[in-house]
């Protein structure tokens, strides 16, 4: 039995994930959820663009976009129309086929991440047994799109930006995966729906260090400030998408916000108990948590100054990687030997461990001061 078999009874294949009154068969399920996911991703990405501009405006003591529509909510629509009607320029000596394919290759994997995200109990496209591994694997493909863009532009700044992208992505993938492993060990499953169901206490309390490592590594993976080295106007112009314009640029811009959305959704699912919550309907809880995580990401962007290239790499290898390994070791020991009757004691123990470890690392870990250390 496989995912490709259309005669499949879904409720039997994924027991407990679909309500029994779910109408229609296999293909209807796919069709409905593909439409839901597309609408969700596009609407939320536009919402995030507006929200980020408004929030950063508040942080910087200005208003932000407030002219188009009430509170400027239609600003992303106006921007989209503006970008779509611009001239589409292709570099004369670039590799045209690769140049054309690059935004697509960058966009498709980000969209595919949402296939395994539970919006509420069992409401997801495919409850894969390897859910979170699928997310990590699929999101590592989009770096190929960045590469293609940087290479095919035939521009040295694009190429340099793409090379920065790859060194950063490859380095931060390791602490990212290790911090997820802590959650997987606690939940005993890779499926995102089972991980949410396993969270009687949200895993942010049981895994405070893992949560911080994940947030830092994910911010680097999606090139948010303080790790946004791909787009450095004074060094490499706009990085890998310097030459892009019109619709293709819009697609890269959309990829950026879809990635932020993906990270917010994954953090919500892994650490904040997903759709679980009292009183309000599950879907609403899910959306509230996603917006909360996104606000924290914007807050970090508005507060923390950006790092230099060498500092970014040193931070990944000398700080995040050892901390993630220690976190995984501690989690494994706790799962094996900790008595079941004391769930709250472990929360305080882990918080204390997190504080001690972070203080310790900040003592003997220096970011090179004013010198460039390679």
């Amino acid at each position: 039995m496989s995912l490709f078999d259309p005669g499949l009874n879904l409720s039997a294949y994924y027991p407990g994930t679909l309500p029994p009154e779910w109408p229609g068969g296999y293909w209807i399920h796919w069709g409905v959820f593909v439409v839901i996911i597309l609408a969700f991703v596009l609407l939320m990405a536009m919402g995030f663009i507006w929200l980020e501009r408004r929030e950063v405006g508040r942080f910087q003591a200005r208003l932000g976009p407030n002219r188009v529509g009430p509170f400027g909510v239609l600003q992303p629509v106006a921007d989209a129309i503006k970008v779509l009607t611009k001239e589409d320029i292709i570099p004369a000596k670039g590799d045209k086929l690769v140049y054309w394919l690059a935004p697509v290759v960058a966009f498709v994997p980000v969209l595919m991440v949402f296939a395994v995200v539970p919006f509420q109990d069992g409401a997801l496209l495919a409850d894969l047994n390897i859910g979170i591994l699928y997310v990590v694997a699929i999101s590592s493909v989009s770096v190929v799109g960045v590469f293609m863009a940087g290479w095919s532009s035939n521009n040295k700044y694009s190429l340099l930006g793409a090379m920065r992208a790859v060194s950063q992505l490859v380095s931060y993938e390791i602490p990212l995966g290790l911090s997820i492993l802590g959650v997987v060990v606690l939940a005993g499953s890779l499926s995102l729906n089972s991980i949410v169901e396993a969270q009687h206490i949200p895993f942010i309390l049981l895994q405070p260090l893992g949560f911080l490592i994940y947030m830092a590594a994910a911010a680097a993976e999606i090139n948010r400030t303080p790790f946004d080295l791909l787009e450095a106007d004074s060094e490499i112009v706009a990085g890998f998408h310097t030459e892009y314009s019109g619709m293709k640029f819009a697609l890269f811009y959309l990829v950026e916000y879809c990635e932020v959305l993906a990270v917010s959704v994954i953090v919500t699912t892994l650490f904040l108990a997903g759709w679980k919550g009292p009183l309000l309907p599950p879907l609403l809880w899910f959306l509230i948590k996603v917006f909360g995580v996104f606000t924290v990401i914007v807050w970090v962007r508005a507060t923390v100054p950006r790092l230099r290239v060498d500092q970014v790499m040193a931070f990944a290898w000398k700080c995040l990687l050892p901390l993630a390994l220690i976190n995984l070791l501690i989690t494994g020991i706790q799962v094996l030997v900790w008595p079941e009757v004391l769930p709250w004691a472990v929360v305080f123990l882990n918080l204390a461990i997190m504080v001690v470890l972070i203080l310790l690392w900040s003592k003997f870990f220096k970011l090179g001061g004013g010198r460039v250390e390679v």
Binding site: L133, F147, V166
Partner: protein
């Protein structure tokens, strides 16, 4: 039926991409074809109900190894258009024909058995058990770990200043 269609589509894509890797003159496009080939192989794993293997194939081969290959291409100047002809054409041809002969011989002479047992769900527990459980492959896993550690230490020693 769906499985058969998926298999043939993936097989044709995979072989076409593999041919493109060898035949394309543009070395960057050849590397991209290699990515496509790896993805098609991952798709074939999915049709075989080996979901864990498929995800790891994408993670390791597409996300890491192809990226390293492309990075090496980017660091190499003056190979942007066309691969230069080497002096070792004839020995390469001999080795390639020998390799092809071996593979075809192995394919033809193996009796391919199709298991009637339905695939395991989930596969991760079974893989973990056979890698780390009793009577499993714990020794090869540890040997591989030591080998990788040695490689990492060696790389650090090689690039170290002084």
């Amino acid at each position: 039926m769906g499985l058969v269609i998926a298999f043939w589509v993936l097989a044709v894509v995979g072989i076409a991409a593999a041919l493109a890797v060898v035949l394309l003159r543009d070395i960057f496009r050849a590397a991209l074809s290699l990515v496509l080939c790896f993805l098609a192989v991952a798709g074939i794993y999915v049709t075989l109900s080996a979901d864990f293997l498929a995800a790891v194939q994408v993670l390791i081969y597409v996300g890491a190894i192809s990226v390293l290959i492309i990075l090496a291409i980017m660091l190499t100047r003056e190979v942007k258009r066309g691969s230069p002809s080497g002096r070792l054409r004839v020995p390469a041809l001999v080795v390639a024909i020998l390799f092809l002969g071996t593979v075809v011989f192995a394919l033809v002479n193996t009796s391919w058995r199709i298991s009637s047992v339905s695939p395991l769900v989930p596969t991760t527990a079974a893989i973990g058990g056979s890698l780390f459980g009793e009577g499993g492959f714990i020794l090869p896993v540890e040997i591989a770990a030591v080998l990788l550690l040695a490689a990492v230490v060696g790389a650090i020693v090689l690039v170290r200043e002084k």
